[in-house]
């Protein structure tokens, strides 16, 4: 079951911040979900192969060649912050 410390770790992995009033409610909700999920422990799955694809298909490969036009201008037109062909984020290295 998840406690305060674990919740902070999960939130960190998820790049989310949960704090204040939401903290206890979130712990309760996540623990309720995990209690539901614990039922999986009842099932004997010895020797069962995990199901990777609903139709047991392997994914197709394609030739390693460019098939799309350069759409960078369209893609960048919806970006929050750009400079020339770059997406801008806060400074990482001073």
């Amino acid at each position: 079951m998840i406690d305060n410390t674990q919740l902070n770790q999960i939130a960190y992995l998820s790049k989310l911040s949960i704090d204040g009033d939401a903290l206890n409610a979130t712990i309760k909700d996540l623990n309720n979900i995990l209690t539901l999920v614990e039922q999986l422990g009842e099932i004997d799955t010895d020797g069962i192969i995990p199901m990777a694809h609903p139709l047991h298909m392997t994914q197709r490969l394609r030739e390693d060649k460019v098939t799309e036009d350069d759409k960078s201008k369209i893609f960048q037109s919806i970006a929050p912050k750009i400079d020339k062909q770059y997406y801008l984020v806060p400074t990482v290295i001073e």
Binding site: I10, S14, K15, L16, I48, M51, R60, K71, F75, P80
Partner: protein, 482 residues
Amino acid sequence: MHDRTIAELTEGLKSKEFSSVEIVQNYLDKINASDLNAFITITTEMAIKQAQVADERIAKGNANILTGIPYAHKDIFCTSGVRTSAGSKMLDNFIAPYDATVSYKFNQAGLVMLGKTNMDEFAMGSSNESSFYGATRNPWNKNKVPGGSSGGSAAAVAARLAPFATGTDTGGSIRQPSSLCGVTGLKPTYGCVSRYGMIAYASSLDQAGPITQTAKDAALVLNVMAGFDEKDSTSAQRDVEDYTQSLNNSIKGLTIGLPKEFFSEGLDNNVASEIMAAVKEFEVLGASVKEISLPNSKYAIPTYYVVAPCECSSNLSRMDGVRFGHRCDKPKDLEDLYLRSRTEGFGEEVKRRIMIGSYALSSGYYDAYYLKAQKTRHLISNDFKKAFKEVDVIMGPVSPTTAFDLGSFKDPVSMYLADIYTLSANLAGLPGMSIPAGFSHNMPVGLQMIGDYWSESKLLNIAHQFQQVTEHHSQIPLKEVV
């Protein structure tokens, strides 16, 4: 005009009884007068333009069967130049830079998009209440939910705000709202309809399909939607089918399987009796009924709530405030940019599922959760394999109850439990349908049909035959009739 089926509208267009522009204007007027909150975006100008082009195509004689027919598009499909929000604040400002394959195919066929429909945020929900844009109302009773996640689409078709709508189904999101709104919904076999440009929730479960008034209409729409797409690596390479071809086949000799697990504790008595009355109707049509068992189906909920969150925690990691979507104000560093953009952009249910996924995939827990769930998924799939050796189709309820009141589920787990009958078809990748089967306290009840892989034509045939002898599918919620 607004209560006609697609098949009837195509006849009217062909005989020049009306033009596409006239039909489209009629639906736009209805949408604007509606208070169901079924649409996030109404694309009025674009729709009129598309309808004019469709009318020109019809006049020149180079129209397809569905040219000029309007539709409502779930706001999860990318539509070039039009906001595609997935019901989230995160994508409230996202103007899709390209078309999903489904959108592209509809454009090529000359269909006319009326707008983008409301949905649970990133398709995570069974009530439409997790939408950033507020819940859609059920047209049969505006205090009740339309179901989810394709609730806006199902409500729009039920209220005849559009002749059909698109939906996506990851755990029941086409079938459950179709059931709760009294319309016909089809979730095809995994890999049947391209997922390219469909905003991903859980990629091994997501599948798109039509929401229509009738099975015949669903066949007409699936003819356009389905087919191999090299842009989707999980798209199945199969020959194109004409899903309308076997609609009129007799269903004499059909064997229907009724899983005892689908009629156990928790199923509302009135819903159960409507379902059994529908099954009786099939017996009159020459089908026989057999009780079957899907012993692992009770584990569909815990299996789904591991697999889907794991996949969503990975899929939604692309929403980081860098390239598109919501970005927080004045981030102090890169970590702050990610953290605040995501915390501000996602709603509660989405955050819960991302965190469950991150937890289940994290070191030390992977085997106990994800691997175990993938193994259980195999057992659930094997149950169906065994069942389809004995029966042609599985029938049962879609949902344990009719539409519930808005705001009635405070605790997320109790809402998850309502998905009990729909999840297993997604986990196995099988096709499923919901068709109107009756009413309980004036609210629609949907009959679920699950078929073997690639049995869409068969399911549509069975549904069509049922709709030839019943009237449930042509009932319209009175208050919405303009």
